[in-house]
């Protein structure tokens, strides 16, 4: 069935009126025919998977034609904001969903800044975009009115120039009444590590959404509107004050996130011997990249829409005559790790500059850093040579060469064309099959963060079972790295719903920690809450089920018991697994890179630690059992019927 038939069938089931206060419409955009139509997510779907990431899965499940390929215009690109996005402090997030051209499995990526909130303030909770435009196009949403406009003046622009030009041409002010989700040259060139930028640094990063958007010839989605008050079921601002106070009183927010941001994690990771270095051949690196060494280059902090935390560090290299990449936003810990130790770079200034280049080029620093590190190890081992790289010497730590390679990647020039194919470089014929042994990826997606998880088994399990591939933001049991919590077994059991080993490198009970995190994070994504301010990510005292259900009742009028809301989190994962199953994912794909099974950790207090295959497999079976999954990792039959009953057939 063609995409238009699938959309028509779906629209027949969708109401034309909002189902509850504050609900925005879903806008379907056919870029090829330049048609738009809107309807509302059915209430039964909202009660099953909420909105944001959850309802994005509903749309993908219903519209996916797995006989096509990810970049086919018949595969939709879906944006969705959460039920509380734009309304609750720190709920400024939304998701971008499709079939990943990079990994070949689910594409689902989350971003904040202002676009997800302003989209809602224009009256839309979701965008479902399909069809290939005849010419490069902008979707412009002004006070809720949608127009498709000529994007040809912006073709070839990267993020810095694009943002400046759009503000000049369309008017408005970023952070006040103008927001945008846009691609760069990398997206236009179908670079598989390209993201969709949602701000100067904010990016829907993982899985190649930039390439997907480029394949539809969509350059940007722009929202223009005054921020407006939502009609809600009940007053919600008094409870917002409670949430804001709760956020700001939490130690990790007060003492770390709002002062320095995420680079704090670098130091514990390197001390632990868990800092992925040189494509995880090594596991510790210089103290010269500890967070405090970034302090002189951090003029301030910024934040997302109505977030009181302000965790995004700005940077300024204090050059006498600042160039294009001497100031910017970031870096976050992921970028620090991927463009520091994992590429053998030991200079704060080099990391900051490469971060700024990636933000402009619209490259996912996780996937791009992974693709670079993989290439560098292959070169080190002689699996590829200077003949393959066009004469470029891939030496660890050579920041100038790495910067050059970033530009070549965005343009798909020379060896950049190989890097642009990311984890698919063997499949595309660039590398020999022997290269796969050194690929640090799961389900075709390079590892998101630089933490080498041979030690912390809960981290390892999370990376293996994450539905979008090797990514820590889906389910990381971050509190496994906090000794005070590890040493309080009763508290851990209460947090995770059963006993969890105190030992970070133990396997017992770790499935419970991952399950609990996966559920609450899926709920957080579906209401629009930031991961950093969701319970269990860094703190047990951040907003969680109780705060979400209270504000869902105030904002939407929908009453959820704690158990019903937890089930929504599980349901989101369940639908994602149904989608992945249609894309060929099986138990054997819930695994880890060979290196972590076969090579002992080379440094730190856990020297010699690795993943035991038998114990990992047993842990995976326990995870499936408590997740209502079959031995192949898909929802059990009764649950699958419940999901299909609520969402319809794919």
């Amino acid at each position: 069935m063609a995409i238009r038939d699938r959309v028509a069938r779906l629209l027949e089931e969708m109401p034309r009126e909002a189902q509850f206060p504050s609900q925005g419409a879903t806008l379907f955009v056919d870029l090829e025919r330049r048609d738009t139509v809107s309807a509302y997510t059915p209430l039964a779907v909202t009660r099953t998977v909420l909105a944001g990431r959850g309802a994005n899965m509903y749309y993908l499940y219903r519209l996916l034609d797995e006989s096509l390929t990810p970049l086919d215009p018949g595969i939709p690109l879906i944006f969705g904001s959460g039920l509380l996005t734009g309304l609750v402090p720190s709920a400024a997030r939304g998701n971008c969903t499709s079939w990943s051209p990079e990994s070949g499995v689910l594409l689902d990526s989350n971003a904040g800044d202002y676009f997800p909130s302003f989209l809602r303030m224009n009256g839309f909770d979701h965008l479902v975009i399909y069809g290939r435009a005849a010419a490069w196009t902008l979707i412009v949403i002004r006070e809720g009115r949608v127009t498709l406009e000529d994007a040809s003046p912006y073709v070839g622009m990267d993020n810095i120039d694009m943002r400046a030009q759009v503000a000049r041409d369309l008017g408005g002010t970023w952070t006040k009444n103008l927001s945008m989700a846009n691609i760069t040259r990398a997206g236009e060139n179908l670079v598989l590590t390209s993201g969709v930028m949602a701000g100067p640094k904010a990016v829907y990063a993982r899985g190649g959404p930039g390439a997907k958007m480029g394949a539809l010839r969509l350059k940007a989605i722009v929202t223009m509107a005054q921020t407006r008050e939502f009609p809600t079921a009940a007053p919600y601002k008094p409870y917002n004050r409670h949430i804001a106070q709760q956020l700001l009183a939490t130690s990790v927010v007060k003492n770390a996130l709002s002062k320095t941001g995420t680079p704090f994690l670098y130091k514990p990771s390197r001390l632990l011997g868990a800092m992925g270095t040189k494509n995880n051949q090594e596991t510790t690196w210089t103290e010269g990249l500890d967070a405090e060494h970034f302090d002189p280059y951090r003029p301030g902090m910024e934040g997302c829409f109505r977030c009181p935390v302000n965790c995004r560090p700005l940077n300024d290299l204090h050059k006498a005559a600042p160039g294009r990449y001497d100031k910017g936003d970031g870096p976050e810990y992921v970028t620090l790790g991927k463009f520091g130790p994992n590429l053998g770079i030991d200079s704060v200034e080099a990391v900051i500059r490469l971060n700024n280049v990636c933000n402009d080029l619209g490259l996912d620093t996780a996937s791009t850093g992974s693709a670079l590190a993989w290439a560098f190890e292959l070169y080190q081992r002689g699996i590829i040579s200077a003949q393959d790289t066009g004469g470029i010497d891939l030496r660890w730590g050579d920041a100038a060469t790495i910067e050059r390679l970033l530009f070549m990647t965005a343009a798909r020039e020379g060896f950049g064309d190989v890097l642009a194919d990311s984890t698919r470089a063997v499949e595309k014929g660039h590398y020999p099959a022997a290269a796969l042994k050194y690929l640090i990826a799961v389900k075709g997606l390079g590892q998101s963060d630089p933490h080498d998880a041979r030690i912390l088994k809960a981290f390892a399990l999370g990376l293996a079972v994450a539905t979008r591939g090797m990514d820590h933001l889906r389910n990381r049991a971050t509190l496994e790295i906090n000794a005070r919590i590890n040493d309080n077994l009763a508290f851990k059991a209460e947090l995770y719903g059963g006993p969890v080993s105190a030992e970070p490198n133990g396997y017992e009970g770790k499935e419970r920690a991952v399950r609990a995190c996966e559920d609450i994070y899926a709920i957080g994504d579906s209401v629009g809450m930031c991961r950093f301010t969701t319970k269990l990510f860094n703190s047990p005292s951040l907003p969680g089920i109780e705060e979400f259900r209270t504000q869902l009742a105030n904002v939407t009028g929908l009453q959820f018991s704690a158990g019903e809301l937890e089930q929504c989190g599980l349901n989101v994962m369940g639908v994602e697994r149904l989608i992945n199953h249609r894309l060929g994912v099986r138990r054997q794909d819930d695994t880890l890179p060979d290196r972590w099974f076969d090579e002992p950790n080379p440094s730190g207090p856990y020297t010699g630690e690795r993943i035991d295959r038998k114990q990992f497999d047993e842990m995976l079976s326990r995870f499936y059992a408590i997740s209502r999954l079959t031995s192949e990792g898909v929802p059990e039959e009764a649950w699958r019927k419940e999901l299909v009953g609520a969402l319809g057939h794919g």
Binding site: V252, Y333, D449, T478, L479, I481, A483, R484, R531, N538
Partner: protein, 83 residues
């Protein structure tokens, strides 16, 4: 004598470094000694954000019982995950 280095977030209470001169044998005893030097410091350290490293060895569990000896350098390390 055990030297304890503190992160910026705690330095308004502790200063950058404290030296514990009384005899202590475990991290648990060390924290009690720190609280005697700076009343209230133990409460500040009873926070999941803060881990303890002994001579650059980061401790992730069984912390209070960890042995310390004369000459050791202890560091309070904020630990968090990131994106």
């Amino acid at each position: 004598m055990v030297t304890v280095n503190f992160p910026a977030a705690l330095q308004s209470i502790s200063g950058p470094t404290l030296v514990v001169r009384e005899s202590v044998h475990t991290v648990g005893q060390l924290v009690e000694a720190l609280d005697r030097l700076v009343p209230g410091l133990a409460r500040e350290l009873d926070d999941p954000l803060y881990n303890i490293a002994v001579n650059d060895e980061l401790l992730l569990h069984n912390v209070d019982a960890r042995q310390v000896k004369d000459g050791d350098v202890i560091e309070i390390v904020p630990s968090m995950a990131g994106g």
